[in-house]
Symmetry: C2
Subunit: 337 residues, 2 copies
Amino acid sequence: MTTRERPPTMHDVAERAAVSQTTVSFVINGRDDYNISDETKERVWAAVRELNYRPNAMARGLRSNKSQLIGLISDEIATTVYAVQMVLGAQDAAWEQDKLLLVVSTGGNEEIKNRAVRIMLEHQVSSIIYATMFHRPARPPAALRTIPCVMLDCYDQEHTFPSVVPNEVQGGRTATETLIQAGHRRIAFINNVDPIPATFGRFAGYREALALHGLPYDDSLVVHASSDSGGGYLGAMTLMQLPAPPTAIFCFNDAMAMGAYDALRKLGRAIPDDVAVIGFDNIELIAAHLYPPLTTVRLPHYEMGQWAVNFLAEHGDTFPPPVQHRVDCPLISRASV
Amino acid sequence: MTTRERPPTMHDVAERAAVSQTTVSFVINGRDDYNISDETKERVWAAVRELNYRPNAMARGLRSNKSQLIGLISDEIATTVYAVQMVLGAQDAAWEQDKLLLVVSTGGNEEIKNRAVRIMLEHQVSSIIYATMFHRPARPPAALRTIPCVMLDCYDQEHTFPSVVPNEVQGGRTATETLIQAGHRRIAFINNVDPIPATFGRFAGYREALALHGLPYDDSLVVHASSDSGGGYLGAMTLMQLPAPPTAIFCFNDAMAMGAYDALRKLGRAIPDDVAVIGFDNIELIAAHLYPPLTTVRLPHYEMGQWAVNFLAEHGDTFPPPVQHRVDCPLISRASV
DNA sequence: ATACTCTACTAATACGATTTAGTAACACGG
DNA sequence: CCGTGTTACTAAATCGTATTAGTAGAGTAT
């Protein structure tokens, strides 16, 4: 129940080292353009150690008019396991620059969003990252325009904010090319039904890959289903009942791939020998535990988080240009192709 | 590339409202013990709105010697989906009190841990939450003793820090009792092999439940395996080959339950009719997608996170007593029992 | 001896708030 | 008319640091 005593200040250090507070400041900040003698420096550092002195970031921030804080606002957190990697990536990049992340997840609530921005501005964050937990368009609070800001895993329709998102097209292309390079010619795509960038992008990538390798696009090989294992099951069933069924299936995501596995098992088709399957998202819990382990494409969450912080850092406290950055989705090779 | 202009200060507001800066402070902080006339208050608020004034949290914090910040240090983040719920719970509880969370995940690195504490102290956090991503003993940096602190999902061996952890014993008991109440008498437990609190606690709960309901403890019904689906498969296989196999299996976690499902399917036993299965952790990806959906016990991550910041709040900026708090693990009923 | 430079510091101010200690103007009781 | 209170404010100090503008003293050149 004891209350804390006040921590020592620069004045305390100064007194102990028998120098002025100014000198302490110079020594601590390594301003050697103010020629302090080595002997004095040592006395100051000794006093710092003895008193266990730590600078007060609020005072420092007040005086220098900058904080070491970066705000991170996200709609939800951890809808999927890996989306959190964005926060981690951002955190690690911030850490490299001796900065800290102020994290608020709003649960999608508009009022909380606004209040979050306000409170973060009050705390003098140098910049704000506005993130969503899946790739989609978003409308950030207007107040964000008063401070350097990046959108992470989302973008505004008018592209007035810089943003970083996964390269869905390349991801779809990579998945499809992986199947092509394994020798497949009849490649199906079980797409999602939701009108989100991933749906359009991965499909575009699929078509690009076909075109690039001179394969015909066959409309009947593309089916749409709900983005869960049930949808994958249905999609695969439909495809395999085609007069000329595919020898490879690209699933919109890993959950759907799991459903496709069920369907293929039920039909007695071996993976990958009869039919190859590739997923998307690299949900470890699914992909690594399926039999055979699922080859899939990973969303570059961690890298996007890093990029966001580094991009902001590059621009100091000036407003960054509205770059629309895409990060490639790497292939995760397992055994289903 | 434009640089930001400085935001307005209280002085600006004061000037605009033609009052002193002191008056502005009184009005903004609602100090009506200083009888400011309604007319003046209105003028001040008008100026605040017109200038879009926001208080500077650093200046405020410096003067009042307290920040609105709570530090949260965790070893990893998002090893499992649900552990992140701790951060969310903490965040939401903090939000209720107009506080913000300063999050650092250290990746287990000792040096980063120490630096995190130091930086947080520099930032004048009112308290620190030290979290781990699974329930285990931990050794927090010594510097944590200089500030109010709670351990979240972990504890120090000497119980000198307050801590909040899941009630593993109750969780194990609940799981087992659920099976007992469904009419089962021969209940097996596939336990983990790692020497962690969950292993001991859930087992203790299992025995408690048996004892409580007058069921004999049969050593052969408890097997140990690695805590993944492979382990669950092996464990279930072993159990079902017993002369008198169990009619219900309590699995240490959901991944193992998934393996048990595989084994039972292979053996042609129906779930839950031939054998009931219950898991632990409520990993949505597994539990909800298994067939039949898995009845399991949830770890109270969100609630623990909440409890941590509320507990700290209750104690203001005094050092809280080393309470060792346990939060119950609720049953998540699905269809496997 | 004078002027100038260089070294090694220090005094004082400013950052933007909160808070303490006033004070001017007016009312009211005796 | 004096003393006391109340109302509605304001001036100034303060929090802990960074920074600007000095300054005292030694050395060096002329």
